[in-house]
Symmetry: C2
Subunit: 238 residues, 2 copies
């Protein structure tokens, strides 16, 4: 038995049991993701267990409850979406191109994973309180947008835009205080216009995925999204 340790000491360092546990954990998540696409948010833990050939109570060794499984999936999805956005930005040159690439990167991921997008951007379960673990991955996309805008602003690539209508003073102070912690060099006016673009980006995708364009825009949805992103680009001064 000791000889076993000698043959492959660093491989068993995390122990066999820990390794198989990690494998099974991600296998459960993979099966759950697959079932999510057909069943939606009302995911059945027992069905996941059944597909994996184990009994339902065994799954509870890996996820203490169904909500915890969903939370794990949510975190994974946030990270995938954030990575998709980051990669898209990195692969483009120039402010406008990077912004458009970001938007289409987010949209492409959403179209490829509609159930997952609905899970993270759809209706929250009334009782469900988003755990602290989710806020980091969830903020990756917004961080990309803000970074893009601040970089463009500091590089002088953003045209000064119309400041009308003015921000109400209470709103301005609250936004000033919120952005000071992260990007103190960002003007509040730019933040406000960036938030318009942010809402528009996810608003269009959500409407498209949730069927609000049905019987209205059918063929040219990508064109519509692209156009809206260009409108928003102008709005922020690109």
């Amino acid at each position: 038995m000791l000889s076993f340790y000698c043959y492959a000491p660093e491989m068993t360092a995390p122990s066999i049991r820990a390794r198989v546990r990690e494998e099974l954990t991600s296998e459960i998540k993979a099966v759950a993701r697959r079932q999510l696409t057909t069943e939606g948010a009302n995911l059945s833990l027992r069905a996941v267990a059944r597909e994996l050939g184990m009994v339902s109570s065994a799954v509870y060794r890996y996820f203490p409850s169904r909500d915890d499984l969903l939370t794990a999936l949510i975190i994974d999805c946030y990270n995938e979406l954030g990575e998709a956005g980051e990669k898209a930005v990195e692969g483009a040159e120039g402010l406008l191109s990077r912004w458009l690439a970001f938007g289409h990167g987010i949209r492409d991921w959403a179209l490829a994973h509609p159930a997952e997008y609905a899970l993270i951007y759809g209706s929250p379960v009334p009782g469900y309180k988003a755990p602290q673990d989710t806020v980091g991955p969830a903020s990756r996309t917004t961080t990309v947008i803000v970074k893009l805008l601040v970089e463009g602003y500091l590089a002088g690539e953003l045209k000064g835009t119309d400041e009308r209508p003015p921000l109400p003073p209470p709103l301005e102070t609250e936004m000033r205080r919120a952005i000071n912690e992260i990007f103190p060099e960002m003007p509040v006016g730019l933040l406000a216009r960036g938030m318009t673009a942010w809402v528009q980006l996810f608003g269009v995708i959500t409407f498209e995925l949730f069927g609000r364009f049905n019987n209205f825009i059918e063929e040219s949805r990508r064109d519509f999204f692209d156009h809206q992103m260009r409108v928003m680009a102008r709005h922020v001064g690109m």
Copy 2:
């Protein structure tokens, strides 16, 4: 027995049974609405029946399935929301005021009925296909917006706005064809800008209700919404 008919002939015209059926139907919906606020979309038919003091199978005399109950609730909510928007517009004078009143009317209803708003504007159930009965009530809000814009346009109250970026030709033709059926006098450019405002309106409300502003905008959410609506008003040429 016949004397009964003679005493109140027109009262029993819709028959006793039909009347009590109608009452029970709306009573079931009322209880379901109340449970919706605490339980969310996973509404329990049995719990509704329990609260009404009847057995679960009796509810099936009134709604053939749980989905049909939810559909009935969805239709009611669409109508309430549409009516809230229409009333708000009627109670205001002038194009900008009417637009702002509409926005706040929608938002106020959403804040007062978050679960109901999530039901109609949240993630659709993957299998759930929206019945034809819902599209009419669902389109009341968009009709208000388009009417407002067309009236303002025909009255010459809308400034001509920048047509950049231009619409891609395939998108323009599809939008032209779609709007021709309802408002042929509406320019496509105005429709596009109106859709931007439409998406922004519901996008901000959805983000606010679904917690996207948490730890960022807390006190001035109404101000933020109002500001966004004014930005959109400028965008469409008000």
